[in-house]
């Protein structure tokens, strides 16, 4: 929890309230999203806690990448994907790990992760300051930390050798 707080406070906040339908301002928001993500990845690397990579399509409306968790010196890697919703940034992106769809109850259709009751209120209170980095740090990060060790211990996910 302390780590999450520290990581969170060092992620740059965003300024522009614009979604993909806002043709004029969206490029500016997209720039801020990238800047924030770049800083977040650099922070993670510096803290020896590198745990994801993300990229987007040209319009910045579809995002995809990978995240990983270490457990007993083994690296478990998962594909991430999500869309930027029409109402972004008033509503947060719904992050999905499609390959885990159906493997845990803590997921909605299509592999969207089921976030804690605290996430959405926190996001709503921080519009438009929070961006994709914050959704990862507050949403996906804590979800992985709780769910993946549990799924491994239940044998639902197995370690795969790198091909």
């Amino acid at each position: 929890m302390e780590n999450t707080k520290k990581a969170l406070s060092s992620i740059p906040l965003l300024k522009t309230k614009a979604g993909p339908r806002d043709v004029d301002l969206w490029p500016q928001r997209l720039k801020e999203e990238y800047q924030s993500l770049i800083q977040y990845v650099q922070n993670n690397k510096a803290a020896d806690n590198d745990w994801f990579r993300l990229e987007s399509n040209k319009e910045g409306t579809k995002w995809f990448g990978k995240c990983w968790v270490f457990q007993n010196q083994l690296k478990y890697e998962f594909d991430i994907e999500f869309d930027i919703p029409v109402t972004f940034p008033s509503t947060a992106p719904e992050i999905a790990l499609p390959e885990l769809d159906g493997k845990t109850a803590k997921m909605y259709r299509g592999g969207k992760i089921c976030l804690s009751d605290h996430f959405k209120p926190l996001w709503a209170r921080n519009v438009p300051k929070f961006g994709i980095s914050h959704a990862l740090a507050l949403g996906l990060g804590p979800w992985l930390a709780v769910e993946i060790p549990d799924l491994i211990s239940k044998g639902v996910i197995q370690y795969k050798e790198k091909e």
């Binding site: 406070s9 740059p12 906040l13 965003l14 300024k15 309230k17 979604g19 993909p20 339908r21 490029p27 997209l30 720039k31 801020e32 990238y34 800047q35 924030s36 993500l37 770049i38 800083q39 990845v41 650099q42 690397k45 990579r53 993300l54 990229e55 987007s56 910045g60 409306t61 869309d83 930027i84 919703p85 029409v86 109402t87 008033s90 509503t91 947060a92 719904e94 109850a105 803590k106 997921m107 909605y108 259709r109 089921c114 009751d117 959405k120 209120p121 709503a124 209170r125 921080n126 519009v127 300051k129």
Partner: protein, 421 residues
Amino acid sequence: MSLEDVENIKKRIENFKKTLMELTEAPVMTETAEHKVREMSAEVVDSNPYSRLMALQRMGIVKNYEDIRKYTVVVVGVGGVGSVTAEMLTRCGIGKLILFDYDKVELANMNRLFYQPSQAGLSKVTAASMTLTKINPDVKIETYNTNITLTTQFEEFLNVLKTGGINGERVDLVLSCVDNYEARMTINTACNELGLKWFESGVSENAVCGHIQYIVPGESACFACAPPLVVASDIDEKTLKKDGVCAASLPTTMGVVAGLLVQNTLKKLLGFGTVSWYLGYNALSDFFPSMMIKPNPNCSDNFCLKQQSEFKNRVKEEPECTNVDPLEDVVTHENNEWGISLAEDEPIVSNNITELVETETSKTENVNKNNSIKSEEEYLSLNDGIEFAYQSGDQTAPNEESLVKETELSVDDLREQLSLL
């Protein structure tokens, strides 16, 4: 042949079966085919499906029941609440129903009403359309198997709202029966832009509370005006066990909410009774709190602000609001009522109940005297039994240090920089 091949073939057979089922059972709906509609007869005979509905007119409850044929209602989300809502409207003989959903029927849905195990695997809109057409072939049904929150599909959604009416006009009413904040905000955005009236509905994740909310852009609070309004369940969040589960659901709560939703839809469309602005349902104490909430003059949705000023002008020009739309009459008068309708509706949930009622009354009077909302605090005062899903945000600007810096780099430069990390 490996075991995997056999599995794949089995899957393909299953898919073919489903396709065959869709093709043979789905209603043949071509744009050119003339949609035949039976006469809505008032004759009281066993063979007349409309006799009991037309009786509403004979009894003087409804002025002209057949008006229902003129209306087009959009149901977004045909799950536990939406499917039942669609069935009720179909049985009532609504003119046209437009259904939106991107989900499939699953066996895990069988604790709710409407869908059948044999429909598992079908898209919800296809399964619903098949059943509804069998129930009442007079109702024109249009389906969209799409996720409206995606930027690629939102424009289509807007277009359907603008032109989906029986004669290509805008639709009459949108009913939100979705299960998530993102989709509700999407509907809110669309309806604010178009000035379309809509009902929000919802059931809590613990399945024991629900609500409906009538939103008239500019006149009542939109979904972005304040944090979502929910019914207080009086369950301590900390004692609610959420290990290994996302949401619970009951056919009962969903049936009640669908009933309240369609009841108010009928009242709105056919112009009888009063339409509730916000009506909650607490299943644990059988308490139904209600209230009206005005638009937030500081709403974050610009189209909501625009609708608010247009509404103010309309009221100025036509203080009685009588010749805008005769159906609106009922709703406008309700403005003066506010709050709790009957004293005995109060829940027995608190020891200091009298105190609560007292403060409530004074609060209601306060708001009633003022036509405009003066303070944020006053704006955010709610009737007993209703609360915000969470506290609204602080609007203090963050310090410059914590913000992203100005940059000369282009989007493409930054994209590349990220990919090289």
